[in-house]
């Protein structure tokens, strides 16, 4: 039953899975929580997939469902209370790729992002993914002007955390 649908969905998701990983990276800070959120986003995407129409890009559609799950639908599980360090688990940055100062700075940056609220995280995510204000406004349901204002405030907030 539905095998055709399942197959096309899993194939597309396998190809675009990094989008979900990236959402999880900003919204969780340990390996278990990352996996939990990844799974919930996958389930939500699968539930919404029958209504997915080819007129939207699969990846654009994924951004929306992914962020909605992280911001609104996801119920943090008990497992996410564990404080296993994220950097130490599966995303360890190879030392040769970065100089120490950059690596240190990046650690601080991700730490600062985790201190932001859910909406600010969404803005940072969309900024990092190079989304224009039209798409940001449509994803969050706010006007373009307000998206721009909030984006600038969020960037300033991040810089302030870093400079503190």
């Amino acid at each position: 039953m539905n095998t055709e649908l399942e197959h096309s969905f899993v194939e597309l998701l396998e190809k675009h899975q990094n989008i979900i990983h990236k959402v999880c990276r900003l919204y969780t800070n340990n390996y278990d929580a990352h996996n939990d959120l990844f799974q919930e986003i996958t389930i939500q995407l699968w539930k919404a997939y029958p209504k997915f129409r080819g007129d939207a890009k699969f990846s654009t559609w994924m951004y929306r469902v992914g962020l909605n799950t992280a911001i609104t639908l996801y119920r943090k599980s008990k497992r996410s209370i564990k404080t296993q360090d994220f950097e130490g688990v599966s995303f360890k940055i190879k030392a040769e790729d970065y100089d120490d100062t950059e690596e240190e700075q990046l650690k601080l940056l991700y730490k600062a992002i985790h201190k932001l609220n859910d909406i600010e995280k969404a803005l940072v995510f969309l900024y990092l993914e190079d989304k224009d204000y039209r798409e940001i406004s449509a994803t969050l349901g706010i006007s373009e002007v307000n998206a721009r204002v909030k984006m600038n405030r969020t960037k300033t907030k991040l810089r302030n955390i870093l400079n503190a």
């Binding site: 399942e6 969905f9 899993v10 194939e11 998701l13 396998e14 899975q17 990094n18 990983h21 990236k22 990276r25 990844f38 799974q39 919930e40 996958t42 389930i43 939500q44 995407l45 699968w46 539930k47 919404a48 209504k51 997915f52 559609w61 929306r64 469902v65 962020l67 909605n68 799950t69 911001i71 609104t72 639908l73 996801y74 119920r75 599966s90 995303f91 940055i93 950059e102 700075q105 990046l106 601080l108 940056l109 609220n117 859910d118 909406i119 969404a122 900024y127 990092l128 993914e129 994803t139 969050l140 349901g141 706010i142 006007s143 307000n146 204002v149 909030k150 960037k155 810089r159 870093l162």
Partner: protein, 204 residues
């Protein structure tokens, strides 16, 4: 280099750092059950709808020991279409919850669904409360009329106990409903409400 530029550079290069889930691993995931707040809201709402029905079924006027006036029965049966309407409204709002909407619309639809159930519960509590008070009063009046026929106070005591038990059960049910509400709003909707407020604040 500005911190944000550094972050962006790292972000763009990060693709290779994420674990690569296989086809089978993803397939297994879609077979699992969701634990989203919408699912929990649905379950808790069903419990609440059921509790509301239970409260109505518990209607003390239906007890044989109390002769209720006809108008009270009519009043009671008139609530059934209202309950059906609430359940229909709940289902309609629930169906509107769509993960592909904008964040704000999604939050609004979830809150709207919750509001339907809250109104339903409020309707039940007010209506149930009126019924309990009126029926208890009628029962008491009947007891007063029969008081002269009773020898001693043992029968009168029995009626008083019955009325107290009815009130106690009503209070107990109210307590359970309050508990469920506390659970729901305290745990499930706290984050959603915070985020919704944050988005609304932007539009102000």
């Amino acid at each position: 280099m500005d911190g944000l530029d550094l972050l962006k550079k790292d972000w763009e290069k990060s693709d290779s750092k994420y674990p690569k889930l296989t086809y089978d691993e993803i397939y297994k995931m879609i077979l699992k059950k969701s634990s989203s707040i919408v699912k929990w809201i649905f379950i808790i709402s069903l419990i609440e709808l059921g509790l509301g029905l239970f409260l109505i079924v518990l209607n003390p006027t239906l007890e044989n020991s109390i002769e209720s006036p006809k108008w009270l029965d009519v009043f009671y049966y008139a609530t059934f279409p209202v309950i059906v309407y609430f359940i229909f409204l709940f289902y309609k709002n629930y169906k509107k919850i769509n993960a592909t909407d904008s964040a704000k619309t999604l939050m609004q639809n979830i809150l709207k669904t919750r509001r339907t159930v809250r109104h339903y519960i409020l309707f039940n509590l007010i209506f149930g409360g009126i019924l309990v008070v009126v029926s208890s009063f009628i029962a008491y009046m009947q007891m007063e009329n029969n008081l002269q026929l009773l020898n001693g106070s043992s029968e009168a005591m029995k009626y008083t106990v019955v009325i107290f038990v009815i009130l106690l059960i009503t209070l107990l049910i109210l307590g359970v409903i309050y508990g469920i509400y506390y659970l729901l709003y305290g745990i499930l909707l706290k984050r959603l409400k915070q985020n919704y407020k944050e988005l609304k604040k932007l539009e102000a």
